[in-house]
Point group: none
Chain length 205, copies 4
DNA sequence: GATGAATGAGTATTCATTCAT
DNA sequence: CATGAATGAATACTCATTCAT
């Protein structure tokens, strides 16, 4: 592993643990065992490291999401796969996910950031893809028909990211270990076609 | 309005617009039209102002949530009232809510912060209250019985806060104006009894 | 005890414990239980309190020194009384003495300070008085004749103030409880007339 | 001379002239002709410079004291050498000695200061060494036997440091040029054997 | 006498970034 | 690639003092 990777790894650790702003380039250099100047040789700036991390994890996520969608057997299965992917990333790539969720909002609101625009496109793409999955689910009968696909995609995405954030950000909060299962139960209850929800928008028998 | 309120209002504006860290005490003093030292006379530190804002809006929210629960006619109605309250706060108290959602996570992860502990208690209280509403809904027949009350409370809370955050934080994201209605549709679909999910836990005909 | 005395006492405590510079007028007001503005009503400034303390203890010391000299039965006894008075002040008026020894040097080096000039006069007066006592001791036979009175007065004064300072300022230093007695033994050894010291400046027998 | 030495020299000058607290880091940087930040790159803090100065001069003093003791021909000679070393330091290293005497007391009373502990050890070592010299003097007949070695070491140390302090700190005080000689006369009078003090502890003729 | 809100100049320290070597 | 000395603008916080009430 070269020095550049050392810097990347050190920054990832420190950003996840202490936050981007609270992490100094001096600390990154110390943790990586390199001179401070080398950071600016490999990455152009402190936020250059952040961009690298954000891009890497976002592309990885989107790539895996696309694969999961392709493998899925129904629209509902595709949606569930994406939700499951969030949970899996939260386990397997905890550091990157932590940095993503903590720092992305700030980066997005910096007007003119080129990386922000790229991220916006990625998120829009993911939401469109989820929306398509919902439409597919309506066609294949795995998802009820009376939900707006775009809005529902946004709601589901918000649900899972909000859940992960709440759990991560409130350290003392007691969370049941079965929360993931319950999330899927909740989702299926909302999405599966059935008497009641369908009846609401249809004439009674 | 006294000078202390001037400082509070100026800080609220700047924190919401530029973020807590990016706001300098000099800027707050300038915006409030007071000497910089007065900030530290009334609030002890820069984050003292943040605490005041956070406490004020949190207490206001919890108070209104409690009232809404008392007025509600069923468990489902109570849950929907709380969700509606989130949306209403997001409209009526946009600045405070923005600050709350942006800065609370950071404050929570500062170990030893007394305000963090108070916030944790407030959030736990709100979740417990929502959990009770769900149990009440199961009893009064407005909510299906096969959902874990605690987990579901957390999921619903995450859904709505995640939604508000996503909308707020990703400025260029296209969001349909009917998103709130769709959120309630989604929620009712998940919570209302009389669906197959219920059947799964009931003896067959 | 009026408010002015409360302020004086509070300042004395804090100056002795934390030093003049490290003591804020806010802390003095808090300790005294008065508003900060009252300090400047009674004393004109922060250093006004210091001046009051310094003048009070210095005058008290000089007054008692004069009494001790008048009561003394010999020149040596007078010198010893003054040394003993230092030790007694260090016991009975510890706070004032601490402040005097810590803050006087700084105040003296502030050019143009009117209080500094007064203090200089007081110290010069004390040294002159000690010098006269030594001359008296030479006349009455209690002190050897081969010591310059002025220089010796300065040496003795430096010895006792240096000793008190060293003991006070180095908290962890182990000091024998009999140090005062030994100081007098040392002093008498230096001052009492006798074979050797006299012989040194006289032709041998 | 590198920039670090420039900073050291500038700080030494300013600390000696105006005192540690009254010297701003901006003034040090200006005097040294460097950017203010460089101070904190080389020394960690403002008091870091003070520590460096204090340690340097203290170690230099102790090293020379040890050499002087080794060269001395008797116990009394060793004690006189140490006293002479004080006077020499006061001449040759006036700035450092000024800073040492002015700032050490404050630093010592800051509990938990690692430098304070080191200084305490150094002072204790010097006093022990002086005590040994006195014992040696008693053995070789150059110092009278009826003085407690430890206490006397403390008294002599206090005498000379007190003297230097008094002379330095009271600018307007008239001091005879022969004060150093008189100090040695006083010391010899107190320490040399063959006086009545000795007789007091010996059997009469 | 007594209050405490208000002032504003002052200060140590931080930190991303540059650049000569 | 690699170093680390050097920069300098930025910033939260302090505190003696004033003054209207």
């Amino acid at each position: 592993m070269g020095r550049k990777e050392d810097i990347y790894a050190a920054a990832l650790n420190l950003f996840a643990r202490n936050g981007f702003r609270a992490t100094t380039t001096a600390a990154v250099a110390r943790e990586a065992g390199v001179a401070e100047g080398l950071i600016f040789h490999h990455f152009q700036s402190k936020s250059g490291i952040l961009m690298a991390i954000l891009n890497e994890v976002a592309d990885d996520f989107l790539g895996q999401a696309e694969k999961a969608i392709e493998k899925s057997v129904s629209g509902l299965d595709a949606i569930e796969s994406i939700v499951r992917l969030h949970f899996r990333f939260h386990e397997k790539r905890l550091l990157e996910f932590t940095v993503l969720m903590q720092e992305l909002p700030w980066e997005m609101n910096r007007s003119g950031s080129p990386a922000a625009e790229a991220m916006r496109r990625r998120l829009s793409g993911l939401l469109s893809r989820m929306s398509e999955c919902i439409e597919e689910g309506v066609r294949d009968g795995s998802i009820r028909a009376d939900l707006d696909p775009e809005d529902t995609a946004l709601v589901i995405h918000s649900l899972v990211t909000g859940l992960i954030r709440t759990i991560r950000e409130i350290p003392g909060l007691k969370v049941n270990p079965g929360i993931e299962d319950q999330t899927f139960t909740f989702l299926r209850a909302a999405l599966l076609p059935g008497r009641h929800g369908d009846n609401a928008n249809r004439p009674g028998p």
